[in-house]
C-alpha cells in the first residue's frame, strides 16, 4: 500500500502534500464505498434499482448525490484559495505556488458551475418537473439516463488528474486563448478541462431537448401554458436557453481542441487566428448559462413563497412575461464580459443598456414575491429563511451588477476582486440559496421525510451571514484596486485585514455546511419521526403534492384533467369522492446502455487527451454499436398491474 502511494506521488512529479491528500481522499473514498456496498451485499440492488434505472426520480437523486460530492470538492478548493490569499496578503508564502493556485481556482470555477450548479438543477428538474406538469415520465427516458451518464463522465474526467497525477488547466474556468493554446499550455491540463466540459455539455444539451419537449408535449390534459406552475415556466425558459447556447459551447470547445490537437489556427496568435472569436463564442454561451442556472431558482422561490404565504402567487402573468423577457435579454448581453477589449463606444453602449434592462423584469419578480407575502399567512419555515436571505443578497448583487454594466465603471472594475464578489453574490445568493431552498422544500417529496427545521434554519442563517462576511470585504478590496487571481499581495497594500475578515466569513459558511450535513444525517436517523405520510406536508398548491411521498414509480395512478392554476389547492377544497378502478400502467424498463456509452465516452476522452488515436476510434465505434443496439431493442416497457397500483395508492392517505 505504501509502495502504491509513493508510486502515485512519483507520477504526480512531486510529493506535494496537497495533491497527495487529494489522491488519498479520492482513492480511499472510492475503495471505502465499494467495500461498504460489498459488505451490505447491495451490488444487485444498486445495479437494477439505480444505475440502470430510467426513472427520472432515481436519475434525479443520482444527480443530487454527485453534485453534492462535487460541492464538497469545490468547497475544499474554495477554502484553499481563501486561506492562501489570507496568508499571501500578509507577507507569507502560503502553501500554494502561483501555478498551483491557478489550477485550483480553475478547478473551483469549473466544478461549481458545471458539476455542482448544473447537477443540482438537473437533479431537481428530474425529480419535480414531470410531477408538476402531471406527467408520468419525461419525453425521452433513455436520453435522460444518457445525459446523466455523460454528466458523470465529465465529473470523472475533471477528477482523473488527481488520481493519475499530472496537472489541471491553469487558465481560469473559461480557458481564454492564446493562454489555453498549445503554445502556452503544452501539458494535458487544458485537454482535461476541454473534454470534461465538452462531454458534460453534450449531456446538458440532450437534457435541454428532453425537458423542452417534455414541457411542451407531456403536460396533463387541461394544463394550458398559462395554467402551468411557475417553476415549470422557469425551467422552460432555462431549457430554451440551453438549446440556443450549448451548441455554441460545443463549437467553441471543439475548435479549441482542434487548435491544440491538430495544429489548426482558430484562436492562435499567429497564422491569422483570432482569440477574440473564442471569447465571443464562449460568452455567447457563458452569459446565458448564468440565467440557465438562476431561472429555475426564481421558479423555486415562486413556489415556496406562494405555499408558505398560503396565498396565490401575486402577478402570475407578469411573472411569466418576466421569465420570457429575461430569457430573451440574457441572450443579447454577452459582450459586457469584455467591454475593455476594444469593441468601441457604441457597441459597448448597446450591450451596457441591454444589461441594465434585465434589472426590470428581475425587479418585477422581486416585487411579485413581496406582494405575495403581503397580507399572507407567512410561515417562517427553513425554506423561507433561504428566501429572505436570497432577497437581500440577490438584490445587493443585482445592484453591483448594474454598476458593472456601465461601461466606464467597468473599465475601472474589470478583472478586479469587485467582479469576483459580484458573481459570487449572484451564484451563492441566487443559485445556491435557491437550490438549497428547493431541496428543503421538496425533500419530503423526494425521500418521504422532512428535514429537521432547527438545524436547517441555523444552517441557512450561517450561510447568509457567512456569505456577507466573506464577500463584502472582497467588494471593498476590489474598489481598492485589488486584482483577481493573485495568490500573493504585497503587505504594504494593506489588504491583509480585509482578507482575514473574508476568511472568517468562509469559516462561517463552513459551519453552515457542517450544520447541513448534520441536519441530513439527523433527519435520516429520525426519518420515522419526520416522515411525511400525507404526501402534502406544507399544504401545497401544485400537482406534485397530490401524490404520495416519495412519488410512486408511475407518478400518477389517474390522469384527471386540470382546471386551475393551483390545481391541487382547488381540489383540496372540493374533494372528489368517486371510487375509480385503476388500470395497468406501462412504464419504461431499465437499461444499462446509457452507462456503457458513458464508459466508452470516458475512454474516448482519455484517448484524445493522451493522443492514442486507435483507442479513440475504437471507442467511437463501440459507442455507435451501443446506440444501434438500443435503437434495435423493441422490448423497452414493463407493466405495473392495476392490483399493485391499488395497493400502493391505498397505503397512504392520499386522495
Amino acid at each position: 500500500m505504501l509502495g502504491l502511494l509513493t508510486n502515485f506521488a512519483h507520477l504526480s512529479g512531486k510529493t506535494d502534500p496537497v495533491i497527495l491528500g487529494a489522491q488519498i481522499a479520492l482513492i480511499g473514498g472510492i475503495i471505502a464505498v465499494a467495500l461498504v456496498i460489498t459488505i451490505l451485499g447491495r451490488w444487485r440492488w444498486l445495479w437494477y434499482e439505480w444505475l440502470t434505472s430510467l426513472n427520472p426520480k432515481r436519475i434525479g437523486v443520482m444527480y443530487l448525490i454527485v453534485a453534492f460530492l462535487m460541492l464538497l470538492r469545490g468547497a475544499v478548493d474554495a477554502f484553499m484559495l481563501r486561506l492562501q490569499q489570507t496568508i499571501g496578503s500578509g507577507g507569507g508564502e502560503g502553501f500554494l505556488d502561483a501555478n498551483h493556485f491557478q489550477q485550483v481556482f480553475t478547478a473551483h470555477g469549473t466544478l461549481m458551475i458545471f458539476f455542482v450548479a448544473m447537477g443540482l438543477m438537473f437533479g431537481i428538474i428530474n425529480l419535480i418537473l414531470p410531477l408538476q406538469i402531471g406527467s408520468r415520465d419525461v419525453a425521452f427516458p433513455f436520453l435522460n439516463s444518457l445525459s446523466f451518464w455523460l454528466y458523470l463522465v465529465g465529473v470523472g474526467i475533471i477528477n482523473t488528474h488527481l488520481i493519475v497525477g499530472g496537472e489541471f488547466a491553469a487558465t481560469g474556468w473559461l480557458a481564454y486563448p492564446p493562454l489555453s493554446g498549445i503554445e502556452y499550455s503544452p501539458g494535458p491540463g487544458v485537454d482535461y478541462w476541454i473534454w470534461s466540459v465538452q462531454i458534460a455539455g453534450i449531456g446538458s444539451l440532450l437534457s435541454g431537448v428532453n425537458f423542452f419537449t417534455t414541457i411542451l408535449k407531456l403536460r396533463r390534459k387541461g394544463m394550458t401554458l398559462m395554467r402551468m406552475p411557475i417553476f415549470a415556466w422557469s425551467v422552460l425558459g432555462s431549457m430554451t436557453l440551453v438549446l440556443f447556447t450549448f451548441p455554441i459551447l460545443t463549437v467553441a470547445l471543439a475548435l479549441l481542441a482542434l487548435d491544440r490537437t491538430f495544429a489548426m489556427h482558430f484562436f492562435t496568435s499567429s497564422f491569422g487566428g483570432n482569440p477574440m472569436m473564442y471569447i465571443n463564442l464562449i460568452w455567447a454561451w457563458g452569459h446565458p448559462e448564468v440565467y440557465i442556472l438562476i431561472l429555475p431558482a426564481f421558479g423555486i422561490f415562486s413556489e415556496i413563497v406562494a405555499t408558505f404565504s398560503k396565498k396565490r402567487l401575486f402577478g402570475y402573468t407578469s411573472m411569466v412575461w418576466a421569465i420570457i423577457a429575461i430569457t430573451f435579454l440574457s441572450y443579447i448581453v454577452w459582450l459586457h464580459h469584455f467591454f475593455t477589449m476594444g469593441a468601441g463606444a457604441n457597441v459597448n453602449a448597446f450591450f451596457g443598456i441591454a444589461t441594465m434592462v434585465i434589472a426590470i423584469p428581475t425587479g418585477v419578480k422581486v416585487f411579485n414575491w413581496l406582494f405575495t407575502m403581503y397580507k399572507g399567512r407567512v410561515r417562517m419555515s427553513q425554506s423561507m429563511i433561504w428566501f429572505i436571505g436570497f432577497l437581500f443578497t440577490f438584490t445587493l448583487g443585482g445592484m453591483t451588477g448594474v454598476i458593472l454594466s456601465i461601461p466606464p465603471a467597468d473599465f475601472q472594475l474589470h478583472n478586479s476582486l469587485f467582479l469576483v464578489a459580484h458573481f459570487h453574490n449572484m451564484v451563492i445568493g441566487g443559485v445556491v440559496f435557491g437550490y438549497m431552498a428547493g431541496l428543503t422544500y421538496w425533500f419530503p417529496k423526494m425521500f418521504g421525510f422532512k428535514l429537521h427545521e432547527g438545524l436547517g434554519k441555523a444552517a441557512a442563517w450561517s450561510w447568509i451571514i457567512g456569505f456577507l462576511v466573506a464577500f463584502i470585504p472582497i467588494y471593498m478590496l476590489g474598489l481598492m484596486g485589488g486584482t483577481r487571481r493573485f495568490e500573493k499581495f504585497d503587505p504594504s497594500l494593506g489588504y491583509h485585514p480585509l482578507f482575514v475578515v473574508a476568511g472568517i466569513g468562509v469559516v462561517i459558511i463552513g459551519i453552515g455546511v457542517v450544520l447541513q450535513v448534520t441536519q441530513l444525517i439527523y433527519s435520516i436517523l429520525n426519518n420515522k419521526k419526520l416522515a411525511d405520510k400525507t404526501g402534502d406536508p406544507w399544504d401545497g398548491r401544485t400537482l406534485e403534492w397530490s401524490v404520495s411521498s416519495p412519488a410512486p414509480e408511475y407518478n400518477f395512478a389517474r390522469l384527471d384533467e386540470v382546471n386551475y392554476r393551483d390545481e391541487y389547492w382547488e381540489r383540496k377544497k372540493t374533494p372528489a369522492a368517486d371510487l375509480v378502478k385503476y388500470k395497468d400502467i406501462e412504464i419504461p424498463k431499465g437499461s444499462p446502455i446509457g452507462m456503457f456509452i458513458g464508459i466508452f465516452a470516458y475512454l474516448f476522452a482519455m484517448a484524445v487527451i493522451w493522443h492514442i488515436a486507435w483507442i479513440a476510434a475504437l471507442s467511437i465505434v463501440i459507442i455507435s454499436a451501443f446506440v444501434v443496439a438500443r435503437l434495435n431493442d423493441d422490448d423497452i416497457v414493463k407493466t405495473i398491474k392495476a392490483s399493485q397500483i391499488e395497493k400502493i395508492e391505498s397505503s397512504y392517505g392520499g386522495m
Binding site: 435541454g208 423542452f212 438549446l243 440556443f244 482558430f266 491569422g272 395497468d584 406501462e586
Partner: protein, 197 residues
C-alpha cells in the same frame, strides 16, 4: 377501451418528431457558430492562398447537384413510406444513400487534393475554418449514410412497424436539413469565396 394505460402511438410519434425538430434547431445553432467563425476568419489567409485561388466551382456545383438530387429522392422515400410501398422505399433509400456516398467521396477528393497541394488546415486560420465548416457538414452526411443503412436493415427485418416508419420520417427531415445547410455553404463559402475581392 383497453385495460392498460399506454402511451398511444400517435402521441409517441408526435413527441418524437417534435423532439427531433428541437434537435435540428440545436444543430442549426452549431452550424451558426461555425459559419460565424468562418465569416470572421475567411480573410485571415496569413499570406497563404485565398478561396479565390483554391475553389473549383464547377466541381462544387456538381457536388451540389448530386446532393440536391439525393434530397429529391429522399422526398420520394418519405412518400413511399407513407404509401407503405416497400419495394420503392428500399430502392429510393438506396439511391439516396448512394448519391450521399458520391457526394462524400467528392468532398474527400477535394480535401485530399487541397492537402496534397500543401494547403492543409494548418496553413492559415481561413483554411482551418474552411475545413471544419465543410468537414462538419460532411460528417453529418456520413452519419446520415450510416443511418440509412440501419434503416434498410430494420425495414428488412421489422417491416412497417410504426417506430421504423417514424424513423424514416426523421431521416427525411435530417437529410433535407443537411441539404439546406449545404446551400448556405455553397453560397457563402464557394460562391462568395470565388469572387476576387
Amino acid at each position: 377501451m383497453s385495460n392498460t394505460d399506454r402511451e398511444d402511438e400517435q402521441m409517441r410519434e408526435e413527441k418524437t418528431t417534435f423532439g427531433f425538430w428541437v434537435y435540428l434547431m440545436t444543430d442549426c445553432m452549431l452550424f451558426a457558430g461555425l459559419f460565424a467563425t468562418y465569416a470572421v476568419l475567411r480573410n485571415n489567409t496569413y499570406g497563404g492562398p485565398s478561396g479565390f485561388e483554391l475553389f473549383n466551382q464547377k466541381f462544387v456545383l456538381t457536388e451540389t447537384l448530386i446532393l440536391l438530387t439525393s434530397s429529391f429522392i429522399c422526398g420520394l422515400v418519405v412518400i413511399s413510406a407513407r404509401k407503405k410501398d416497400m419495394d420503392r422505399l428500399v430502392r429510393y433509400l438506396a439511391i439516396t444513400g448512394l448519391l450521399g456516398v458520391i457526394f462524400l467521396g467528392m468532398e474527400i477528393y477535394e480535401f485530399r487534393s487541397l492537402i496534397n497541394e500543401g494547403n492543409s488546415w494548418a496553413t492559415s486560420a481561413f483554411l482551418s475554418s474552411f475545413f471544419v465548416l465543410v468537414g462538419t457538414h460532411g460528417l453529418h452526411v456520413f452519419v446520415g449514410i450510416v443511418w440509412m443503412l440501419l434503416l434498410q436493415w430494420q425495414l428488412l427485418f421489422k417491416g412497417f412497424k410504426p417506430i421504423v416508419l417514424t424513423r424514416v420520417k426523421l431521416f427525411g427531415m435530417f437529410w433535407h436539413f443537411l441539404d439546406v445547410v449545404w446551400i448556405f455553404i455553397f453560397t457563402f463559402v464557394y460562391l462568395l469565396g470565388g469572387l476576387k475581392l
